[in-house]
């Protein structure tokens, strides 16, 4: 049985580890290596990156032999929506305040669900905004504005 590399669980994992290792190694070239007795800041990063590349190769080769496909489909859409909701929240909290940031977070992240009902999300936003305001702003005295305009 042949599995395409792009569906092969272990081959993909191996490639990912090799990539991370290569990235880590390339950046660590900027740090002094030193010696085993007198290690510089670059010693650990470079050694670890090489070890990671090594593991990546082993896992990749194993993947070519075992051909285990990735289970289930990829959930790129929910992943993108959830990440976007976090990014929006961070962006809006300092500029527009807590309530708009939460509204954006709920409206974007809830799209990732299987059902999206505007009314439900509105209620959820209202309830959780009150909760967050009471707990974080009033209770824990964190210095967040509920509404702001700092663009």
């Amino acid at each position: 049985m042949r599995t395409s590399i792009f569906k092969n669980q272990d081959a993909l994992a191996g490639l990912l580890f090799m990539g991370l290792g290569a990235l880590g190694f390339a950046i660590a070239l900027g740090y002094t290596f030193g010696t085993t007795i007198d290690m510089g800041p670059g010693y650990f990063p470079r050694v670890l990156s090489l070890v990671l590349i090594g593991f990546g190769i082993v896992i990749f080769l194993k993947g070519l032999r075992s051909c285990m496909p990735v289970e289930g489909g990829w959930g790129w859409l929910p992943l993108a929506l959830l990440s976007a909701s976090l990014l929006l929240f961070g962006f809006l909290l300092e500029r527009a305040g807590l309530v708009p940031a939460l509204a954006a977070l709920f409206f974007v992240s809830a799209r990732a669900g299987h059902e999206f009902k505007t009314r439900e999300v509105l209620v959820l936003t209202a309830v959780m905004s009150v909760f967050a305001a009471v707990v974080f702003v009033w209770g824990l005295k964190l210095p967040y504005a509920l509404f702001a305009w700092n663009f």
Binding site: G30, Y31, T32, P41, G42, G97, V137, W138, P143, A145, L146, F147, A148, W149, N150
Partner: protein, 322 residues
Amino acid sequence: MKIVYKALAALALSALATTASAQQYPEKPIRLVIPFPPGGGTDVVARVIAQKLGESTGWTMVAENKPGSGGSVGLSLAGKAAPDGYTIVLAQNANLVINPILGKANYDPIKDFAPIGLVASAPQVLVVAKDSPLKTVEDLIAAAKAKDGKLTFASPGVGTSSHLAGELLQQLAGVKFRHVPYKGAAQALPDLLGGRVEIYISSVPSAMVQIKEGVLRPIAVFATKRDADLPDVPTFEEKGLKNSEAVTWWGLAAPTGVPAPIVARINTELNKVLQQPDTKAKLRSAGAEALGGSSEEFGALIKSDVPKWTEVIKAAGVKVAD
């Protein structure tokens, strides 16, 4: 709840207000940026000042912790804020002066900040474990010479005020220590007490507990006069090491461009507050001595600190960027 609500309404309006004159100042809450996490020395000093300023003037002070990179994150943020007097920062020499010299910050202590006033200071102190053979500054220098660069000196981190005080001492006394950096006092003190390192330099407040308990023995303080809490401990100045002052100071600063009347207004209120016995006592319990003074005096201190530490750092070859 009412105050919070008012504060929020005011914040929402803040974008509309552009300039503020000293007569009407402040029209909205003043944000005090604390460049360290809750609980540390800087946080305590900042919260005491914010509370006292608020009580004595009726201003709404909002303290906001913006920690990171030894204070660089908070200072950089405050330096870039609108120069309207509604964002001020409690700076420390370590982050305002030293971080830029080390290349750990992207601001200029003189060009990017308007000094408001000095708040408090605490000296650095050199300590040893109670069973150490070192008892005086003379013992220390003799031991450092005899060990020929192998006397181990622990600090709470590369480029911290304590580390630089140690470098200054080496340069003034003409000796060499082996520097062993730690993440902080929690990691360094067990090694000092366990006899694995010989000396440690720390700010007075963070070593006070152990000194009082007799676990640590102070050798000398890096100050021009003896510390009120340690009257029996000599200064390095007394021992003939001139210009050996190394203190941690805290001061209020604002981004450059703040109208002079507003700076003067905050400075006046700050000095009033620093005169109150309760403020002095609260700062004292955090190990800091209340100071005060004009904004020009604070500016002069920053201007004299920059070349002093630049030289120490250059001579010691301290580098944090590769």
